[in-house]
């Protein structure tokens, strides 16, 4: 079964979890390809700024192993998903926007059975029509309640549990049928950054599990009730500060003890 992993902006990406997912999919017998959108430098700069703000350059230097002052031991550069894929002989497609004609042509040529979205842009309906078995997405929030962006932050703001959902993708924003959900345990000392890492690890595992179930035909999609949730948008820095403080002060009700008991 063919899978195309769709993602974006490789140079400042958070590649480790995507690389592990790709390795796992490959190891599980899927025929894998990787498709990047926003592959131009300008697009990557914009996307990086949006994602990491002023810390963009620091992030880039750190991933490229150039963050240490001269004379000190520099860490090994982090291998991007694209670099890993090329080394492993996995085909990599690069395009500007997902709705560009060349992107659609690339995907059609790759003819995936499943598209797996791993930190991808919003996928247009034309792309959703390409895979024969459908498109799945890993969402850092518990559906159906939290749709949209920064939903880990919004969940903590509302004092709700955090977690990951994998769902079929339809033309709406995180409105497709839910395949799997898994809570993520937040513990004392967690920050939004550390929680992000936890979500990534859980997300990789759930996407692999969902792909396996689609291959086996054992998936159990659950329809979402639109009224059961709300759409959220990128959180303003003032609100984000409140969320960080809530975590730092141990005021988040779902903080666990690290043993899985909140």
């Amino acid at each position: 079964m063919r899978i195309s992993l769709v993602t974006r902006f490789p140079r400042v990406d958070t590649p480790a979890w995507k690389r592990k997912l790709a390795e796992a999919l490959l190891g599980d017998g899927f025929q894998l390809s990787v498709v990047y959108s926003r592959s131009t430098l300008v697009d990557q700069f914009r996307a990086g700024l949006g994602e990491f703000g002023p810390g963009l350059m620091r992030r880039y230097l750190s991933l490229s192993g150039r963050s240490e002052p001269p004379g000190q031991t520099r860490p090994a550069p982090v291998e991007t998903l694209a670099g890993w894929a090329q080394r492993r002989g996995v085909e990599v497609g690069r395009c500007g926007r997902l709705d560009d004609a060349d992107c659609l042509a690339t995907l059609r040529r790759l003819a995936p059975d499943i598209l797996v979205l791993a930190g991808s842009d919003i996928v247009p309906a034309s792309v959703l029509g390409v895979p024969s078995r459908g498109t799945i997405n890993g969402h850092y929030g518990l559906l159906p309640r939290y749709r949209g962006m920064n939903v880990t932050e919004w969940s903590i703001w509302h004092d709700d549990p955090v977690g990951v959902s994998v769902h079929m993708v339809d033309p709406g924003i995180d409105t497709g049928d839910v395949l799997l959900t898994e809570p993520v345990e937040a513990v004392v000392g967690d920050t939004l950054e550390t929680l992000r890492g936890k979500h990534q690890r859980v997300c990789g595992g759930l996407l692999l599990e969902a792909a396996r179930s689609l291959r086996a035909g054992t998936e159990r999609p659950a329809r979402q009730d639109p009224a059961a949730g709300r759409q959220f948008y990128r959180m303003h820095s003032h609100l984000r500060d409140v969320v960080e403080r809530k975590l730092a002060r141990g005021e988040y009700s779902w903080l666990g003890d690290g043993q899985g008991t909140p």
Binding site: Q231, H236, H238
Partner: protein
């Protein structure tokens, strides 16, 4: 006063700046929300609009083509409330004194029928207009609430004008409407009437206001879009008119209750917040399907919406509205003029880019008034977060 040469040079420089900014707006990170000093600069510029008229009303604004414009009764009316709020906040009596002077000037120019004229004061007689009367009524009520009871008489006459002229359908006669048509943004007038009715106990004023609000709700479609939310026939709703409409409904809800008013505000906000989040600079105009129909932003409308959403959050507690309000205000704070040229320093242009169709090449006094209002609300909201 600025010279023609100075203004022309400034126009060229500002247009070049905005042309570059408009081309790069999608490339740059969203505004960070650094509003330090923005309120003080805005208030200083509003005071300048008062000084340039020899303290007889607030100038309509500064035009890069014509220089300072004459005093404008309508918007002077609501600048009063901004200055009173800032005087209380800063503890500086001078701002309250300016507000009183503006209130006195409004009494001087009040028409015989109790209304307030369309446009600026001039030698030719002009008709009284509902919206302008409502905005000045707000100013007089602000002064009365600040202890200036001498404004009760003019306020009562304005409220009577509004109450006596309204029809059974909840709209006013074309003769007293701007452009001869009903407008949903007169919900802001209804808000003023409800404030007066609450103060004076005049129940017929309240009944008339509620009749108008019912008409406003009848103009709303299921997707939140308002018919008749325009200034002139044949145009499309702008964020400015939409924000007026929403604020009137929201504050009316805060005064008299009525969940349908609140739901109407939330419905329209849902659509507009989505637009705010998916564009780097909120566009000015939309069609009935909320498709963007302009390339410029109406900065007044954007910052008004920011204020509406902060107030909506105070009322309904939905943090998504606080989030959107802060972002909308950030967008406009990023466009505040920060220059040593005092004619525009601290001011907000009508449009971004500055040649956009809303008040082109101008700094209308109401844009900066709504920025100051929003920044005061923002400070309170952020303080509560801490």
């Amino acid at each position: 006063m600025s010279s023609f040469v100075h203004r022309t040079a400034a126009l060229a420089a500002l247009a070049t700046r905005d042309a570059l900014a408009a081309r790069s707006v999608e490339l740059l990170p969203r505004p960070s929300g650094d509003a330090r000093g923005a309120l003080e600069r805005a208030i200083a510029w509003l005071c300048r609009t008062h000084d340039v008229t020899d303290r007889r009303g607030s100038s309509k604004g500064f035009s890069l083509v014509r220089g300072w414009l004459p005093a404008y009764p309508e918007t002077t009316g609501y600048v009063i409330g901004t200055l009173i709020a800032y005087a209380e906040r800063s503890g500086q009596e001078g701002y309250a004194e300016r507000a009183r002077e503006m209130g006195d000037w409004e009494v001087e120019v009040q028409q015989g029928d109790g209304g307030v004229i369309e446009g600026t004061v001039g030698p030719e007689p002009r008709p009284s207009i509902v919206f302008n009367t409502g905005m000045v009524l707000h100013g007089w009520i602000d002064l009365i609430e600040a202890g200036e009871r001498r404004f009760e008489g003019p306020a009562r006459r304005a409220a009577r004008f509004l109450t006596d002229k309204i029809g059974g359908s909840g709209t006013w006669a074309p003769a007293v409407e701007y452009a001869g048509m009903p407008h949903t943004y007169n919900s802001r007038v209804a808000w003023a009437m409800l404030r007066w009715a609450e103060y004076s106990g005049e129940a017929d004023v309240s009944r008339a206001a509620l009749r108008h609000l019912d008409w406003v709700l009848s103009m709303q479609r299921a997707n939140g879009w308002f018919e008749s939310c325009i200034f002139r026939p044949g145009t499309l709703p702008s964020t400015h008119a939409i924000a007026y409409t929403l604020r009137g409904l929201l504050e009316s809800y805060a005064l008299v209750g009525g969940d349908h008013y609140l739901q109407a505000v939330r419905r329209t906000s849902e659509a507009l917040v989505r637009k705010l989040e998916t564009t780097a600079s909120l566009p000015a105009n939309f069609d009935a399907e909320w498709v963007v129909r302009s390339e410029h932003a109406c900065l007044t409308g954007t910052v008004q919406l920011g204020g509406v959403w902060l107030r909506l959050h105070e009322v309904d507690g939905d943090a998504r509205h606080l989030n959107a309000g802060l972002k909308a205000i950030d967008q406009v704070v990023a466009r505040q003029e920060r220059t040593r040229w005092t004619d525009i320093s601290g001011a907000i242009a009508g449009s971004f880019p500055i040649w956009g169709r809303y008040a082109p090449l101008q700094y209308p006094n109401w844009a900066t008034k709504f920025l100051a209002d929003a920044l005061m609300l923002r400070e309170e909201s952020v303080a509560r977060l801490r």
